[in-house]
Amino acid sequence: MSELALVFDGVSYAYEEAPREAVSDISLSISSGEWIGVTGPTNAGKSTLCLLAMGLAPHFFGGRLKGSVLAFGRDSRTVPVIERSSEVGLLFQNPFTQISGARERVDDEVAFGPECHGLSRPEVDMRVEEAMRQVGITHLASRHPLDLSGGQLQRLALAALLAMQPKLLLLDEPTSQLDPAGTAAIFEVLAGLHARGVTIVMVEHRLETLCELCPRIVAMVAGRVLADGPPDDVFNHAAVQDRVGLPVFTRLARDADLPGPWPVRLADSTAAFESPIA
């Protein structure tokens, strides 16, 4: 029986001095090893979901939290973010503002987190080497972080998180500021992590990508969960199609008046389009 990595139990949260809640009445159960894609229009509360899972909401932002967020069984209210950082990691959108700004070499930057945790020198060195290898930046080890491109920096930020060997990885639109090559590189790393049992919760706008990679999708609108399940179910749900959108293959199938349920992935849609013709 797999452990529950992340549980939201009737969670509502409002930022400090905000008139409306950012998320209302969220209940989700995520098991260890799952790869969840989170999507929705703007202000759906997707980023807030990540901040809640990490504990930055409410510890960093203040605000009002109702219900409870449990990561690996511990309530986020009782665990400071910095303590949480040994088992949960959060990758933000902007590659340039995630680096510490206090290290002059890529490998020292990756070592920053483990050093904050007081790990022994050999342990730190081992984790740094492994993390850099996992994201493919070992060849950049001696470079100054500011000499890196956006894509390389995002991989550096990811390595910096992986150096702490998190069991749960949260990603808030990790590739929105990257070019296609940088994007592909990140998803490749995530696939490797998923294969090794790391729980991943990823906020992503590209629906096609989500459907290819994530066995389970959570669609959010205006602070509430609209649908939660496999991509085929979620994107054949009428309300999701209205409020969130459709992967391009699904839209093509709908516009071609194919019988439902419509495919959400490239491979399935190839098959779906071939059958009427054949």
């Binding site: 960093f60 503002t97 510490s100 002059e104 070592a111 904050c116 007081g118």
Partner: protein, 259 residues
């Protein structure tokens, strides 16, 4: 090419290899002694010792270049003012028209100037032979909070970045018609249009940076493990103690009548 703010000049001299703490204590003591020593003879002797160390460190020419640029204006100012106006003035040395210069004032100015020269020399000797990263590491090994170590290291990188950005903002504003030359009021009016965008863009990233730091465990109260070890020795430890004790010793000597 990104880089931090530093005067550090690569080298392998004895001074380069000394423990940052040793260099720090010696620098501070030397400066204190320069200002405590009662007469120009003593201070000049200290200055010569410093010069020898500078030469040993292999940075003589570079150091003299920056040091003289700083020392010349202040020395002239001291001589000009003290030689002319010091209340102890009695003995005329020369006159520039109506302005008469006296030996007593010039001597006082000379003493102040040599002391300042020791201050500048000792400080630059430290800066030329010590990597900033080593200084913050040494301080943290001796108990400086890692969060303060972070502040220091981050400042050294963010200062040149911000100065670069200031340059870019200036170019952009000038392209929009901002006048940065001409009369004083016109130049003064350009100050806020150059500062405000700079401050805003500097502050924008702080929230994200703070969150990213917390996500990595910044601020955990754990026993800090050193990043690397410095070579230390009994000789250096003794030197640190001797130099540190020399300061109250010199003060006591002054009180006892050393002149």
């Amino acid at each position: 090419m990104a880089g931090g703010l530093s005067l550090y000049a690569e080298g392998t001299s004895l001074l380069h290899r000394a423990h940052p703490l040793t260099k720090g204590v010696v620098t501070l003591s030397a400066v204190a002694l320069a200002f405590i020593a009662p007469s120009i003879g003593w201070v000049a002797a200290l200055g010569i010792i410093l010069l020898v160390l500078v030469a040993l460190a292999g940075v003589l020419r570079r150091l003299l270049a920056v040091a003289l640029a700083i020392l010349l204006p202040i020395t002239l100012l001291l001589l000009a003012v003290q030689g002319f106006a010091n209340p102890n003035n009695r003995t005329v040395v020369f006159a520039l028209g109506p302005i008469v210069y006296y030996r007593e004032g010039l001597a006082i100015a000379a003493l102040a100037a040599v002391r300042i020269a020791c201050l500048v020399g000792a400080t630059f000797l430290f800066s030329f032979t010590t990597r900033p990263a080593d200084l913050s590491e040494a301080l943290m090994q001796r108990g400086l909070s890692p969060r303060m170590g972070y502040v220091l290291q981050s400042a050294l990188q963010i200062i040149p970045q911000t100065l670069d950005m200031a340059g870019r903002i200036q170019d952009a504003q000038r392209a929009r018609g901002l006048e940065t030359e001409g009369s004083l009021p016109r130049r003064a009016r350009a100050y806020l249009p150059l500062m405000l965008p700079l401050v805003l863009s500097s502050l924008v990233a702080t929230q994200e940076r703070a969150m990213a730091l917390e996500v990595r465990g910044f601020g955990l109260r754990v026993k800090r493990i050193s990043r690397y070890e410095f070579v230390d020795s009994a000789a250096q430890r003794i030197l640190r103690w001797v130099m540190a004790l020399a300061v109250p010793g010199a003060i006591a000597a002054r009180i006892a009548g050393w002149r």
